[in-house]
Symmetry: C2
Subunit: 366 residues, 2 copies
């Protein structure tokens, strides 16, 4: 067990790859007093990460007990192999967004993977580099350990300690289950959002002036960095293609229905698709990983310094905790709408408190 500020991890940790993830792991481990070594093929990136506090440079006398490979997906397999060979006593993990490919590369090379288990923190941002690193990047996020691939029994425990040291939540899956899962919840949504955003390229400025929050939300992740996503999509292509084919078949069916919207059964078919979308959204976990639904209110907020703060201060004064909050601004005006989510049992109290204080409140639309 760790002390309050100490680490579960014992000994040196070597991090290979000083990008967002590697540098964030380094920052977090150093804050717990771990002797953290950073390494990067790019001297400039390495220097930046060290200046940033992510760890110290490697020396010939290093004897890491744990190595974290945090390089782009297409280099992950070969770097794992190098590290296993260079440090014959060390346990090795990686943090790539795909887990089958690196393992397959190791197996194809005939390597013993008993000291290796892959992992993947569901954290990070589309754009990175050490300059974006944060010691708290992983706090509360799921972090998959891709188990069951021939690793020794003690290996998983060490990676769990690492994950707990970073305040993340270990989730055990096989590499295949991981890749199928992230294809569904991350890689396919990335492709679909991208293709939807692509349709906007030729839209007129007048058409786009009618955009609301719905389209902004639907396409937000399409602003992600292509360089990283090329590799992720290429590395998990089979699983992504499997889901995209189902999506395409659904789309084909929907197009065929819409081509004859007055045909018998057409409206029912449209309704069933829309209802299936409702069901899918309802299955997504909300905040805190729970499936619980919150009550939502909309409050009008003048768009000037301090107004939103005053609203939230008064909610805090009432002893009510916000579960979620989103601001929607109306184009061209000085008024914003704050969408507030609270536990259902405090909704009535909150409405009463806010209206008593003169806020304009509307129950949300669902």
């Amino acid at each position: 067990m760790s002390t309050v500020n100490g680490s579960r991890i014992r000994g040196q940790v070597r991090i290979v790859g000083a990008g967002l993830l590697g540098a964030s792991i380094g920052l977090a481990l150093r804050s717990k007093g771990v002797d953290t070594i950073v390494s990067d093929a790019s001297p400039g990136a390495l220097s930046l990460a060290i200046d940033y506090g992510a760890g110290r440079a490697a020396t010939d006398s290093d004897a890491p007990g744990l190595i974290v490979v945090a390089v782009p997906p297409d280099q992950t397999g070969s770097v794992i192999a190098q590290e296993l060979a260079a440090f014959p006593e060390a346990i090795v993990t990686d943090v790539a967004s795909v887990k089958v490919l690196p393992l397959a590369e190791l197996h194809a090379a005939g390597l013993d993977t008993s000291r290796y288990v892959g992992s993947h923190p569901l954290a990070g941002r589309e754009r990175g580099g050490a300059i974006s690193a944060r010691a708290d990047l992983f706090v509360g996020r799921p972090w998959v350990i891709a188990t069951g691939n021939g690793e020794n029994a003690d290996v998983v425990g060490v990676i769990e300690d690492l994950i707990l040291d970073l305040d993340a939540i270990p989730v055990l899956m096989t590499a295949k289950e991981h890749d199928e899962s992230v294809a569904l919840v991350s890689h396919v949504p990335q492709v679909i959002a991208t293709l939807l955003a692509k349709q906007l390229s030729d839209g007129s400025a007048r058409a786009l002036s009618l955009t609301g929050q719905g389209l902004r939300d639907t396409t937000r992740i399409a602003s992600s960095d292509p360089t990283l996503w090329i590799q992720i999509l290429a590395a998990n292509s089979e699983t992504v293609v499997d889901i995209l084919r189902v999506f395409r078949d659904d789309l084909d069916g929907f197009i065929a229905t819409l081509e004859a919207p007055t045909a018998p059964g057409a409206k029912r078919a449209i309704a069933e698709t829309l209802a299936a979308g409702n069901v899918g959204v309802a299955r997504l976990p909300g905040k805190h990983g729970q499936d619980r639904r919150f009550s939502q209110l909309v409050v009008m907020v003048d768009d000037k310094p301090g107004e939103l703060a005053r609203l939230l201060a008064e909610i805090g004064d009432a002893g009510i905790n916000l579960e979620d909050l989103r601001l929607e601004h109306s184009p061209g005006t000085l008024v914003g709408l704050a969408e507030i989510s609270v536990l259902p049992e405090v909704e009535a109290q909150l409405v009463a408190e806010l209206e008593r204080r003169g806020w304009r409140v509307a129950e949300a639309w669902k």
Copy 2:
């Protein structure tokens, strides 16, 4: 011109259809002193809207100068025709989400449409009814007037007065341009988000436990009410299908590329698609209808009453106006991340102020 609390609109306004839009228009007009009549085929819905303050019941002596038809899209054409016949002196508009179909129905019936012009407020919520109505529903939102379809010269001016009375922003387009525009920015995104959310229906709970904010945003609008969307999609089916076909061709191409991700040119093709998505997102107008980009910061906020308020109060104390704010919560933890958008010129000041007060701040990732 109106007085401060008065209306531009003169005389009686008759609203046909007491749902979210009709009742919201009624509430707003009554707040400006307009004699507002509400009518609905459902006695229950009408009674609710009147109780709610959206207007008064019709009488035999009504002589409305303006009639607003706010019924579902598939009834819009016939109700417009009825109203034109019943009130031969009145100007008529409607607020349906599609504009070509109602007009075509009127022309097909051989009706004189000189007293009619269609319109569409880009406002409202997925779920409605008078109970969700708000006098401020249209504040700052674009409201299209579908001009150039044979209306008399004075008709557009009256609808502009209505829109300005509701604090919305008139946008003049033809019916065809309107339907093409909303197909792109609203109807197609609805279909795509729905089909993406549908893929989640069969996903395992373990897979969905890895969900992040990206997927939640991408699928949020898929929770919309099917009943309304059946009608919208059916009424604008040709234009929606045109865009969906392009999307499908793009998807087919992307699938073909991903089927052979190591083929020559494959990675370039993936990169070009991802880059096209970047371009599309960048074209969306931000807050205030501007294309301007804001600086973004991420601040860690303890998940307890008053903490977010304290943060925003301190931002307000610094005289800095939030341009946008989003909360992201980490599953299973008591820590939230507040993503704050501010004008670029105040970013450095804000970071300094927050860090001085002990907040943990990270510059955002892009």
